[in-house]
Symmetry: C2
Subunit: 170 residues, 2 copies
């Protein structure tokens, strides 16, 4: 599948088949994340791949009770090993770098037939307790990964290019 | 080009041909950004497409004098319209959402034969002055876009999956 088709095909999956993910597909998706660029090539992303059903259920509870998060056969808990580096432009490195790696993962997932969803709502402290994540590590996003059964085929509305693009001046 | 090949092919381009970008290619790349997901579908990304050579030169000066930034026929100045929204997990929405849209752009660029580079080093105040960007808007990343002549064919080293992935526990 070409890149632009994958981008247009990707949708947030909020229900999943109870079917494990083949190892080669999981590898392909993680490799896509691993190849992401990052500020000064720091690669501060870390991924906890949660497959244990009981732990998934606890994580879903820590994600405001969004049960579908725990129904996916895998939850990727996307972490940052450091949260102190700042780019010259003033932005923290880690949210941007983790987002790039996760975006790679979402698009590679489309290519291998898997669904994902960006989950920004969770209790970071609880997720860290459940997984034994050290104090200094940040949990940035949760991402369920699995075969989507989400029946929604409606494309989310997006602003037109005219509303988001300007030329040479603001 | 398939997604995983595009991800593995993408490299930071630090020199560019003096050749304009065809309108259909620019459209394809911007459409890829426009289709990105965002927290609560807020789509707070805004892109200033800088083509004017004098303005590009000024932006390159404001990017610590990285002259190649101004040599590309286009600089995408990636902005966020709001910087106040916070996800339930504690992360600010805008750096993550702008990064997702820009990552879409970098991969679509590979597909249409264009190079990009993530530039996090710049003087935000100066860039805003040059482009007349209002006070409340944030400039997140600069991204030159053009036909790469960067001779570097060396792949950047990346940590192995064993170093960045954990299973079920930290």
């Amino acid at each position: 599948m070409n890149v632009i088709d994958a981008i247009k095909t990707r949708k947030s999956a909020r229900s999943y088949l109870d079917k494990p993910i083949e190892d080669d597909k999981l590898s392909a998706v993680l490799e896509a994340g691993r190849h992401a660029p990052s500020a000064s090539n720091r690669q501060e992303w870390r991924f906890v791949i949660v497959r244990d059903p009981e732990i998934r259920e606890k994580i879903a509870e820590a994600a405001g009770g969004q049960t579908f998060v725990g129904e996916a056969p895998i939850i990727i808990v996307a972490c940052a090993e450091t949260d102190s580096h700042v780019m010259g432009g003033g932005q923290l490195c880690y949210p941007i770098d983790v987002a790039i790696a996760l975006d790679h993962i979402t698009l590679a997932a489309v290519e291998v037939g898997l669904g994902t969803c960006w989950i920004g709502l969770f209790d970071e402290k609880k997720v860290k307790e459940i997984l034994g994540i050290p104090e200094k590590i940040r949990v940035v996003v949760l991402m369920p990964l699995g075969y989507s059964t989400d029946p929604s085929s409606k494309e989310k509305s997006r602003l037109s290019l005219g509303k988001i693009v300007k030329y040479d001046r603001w």
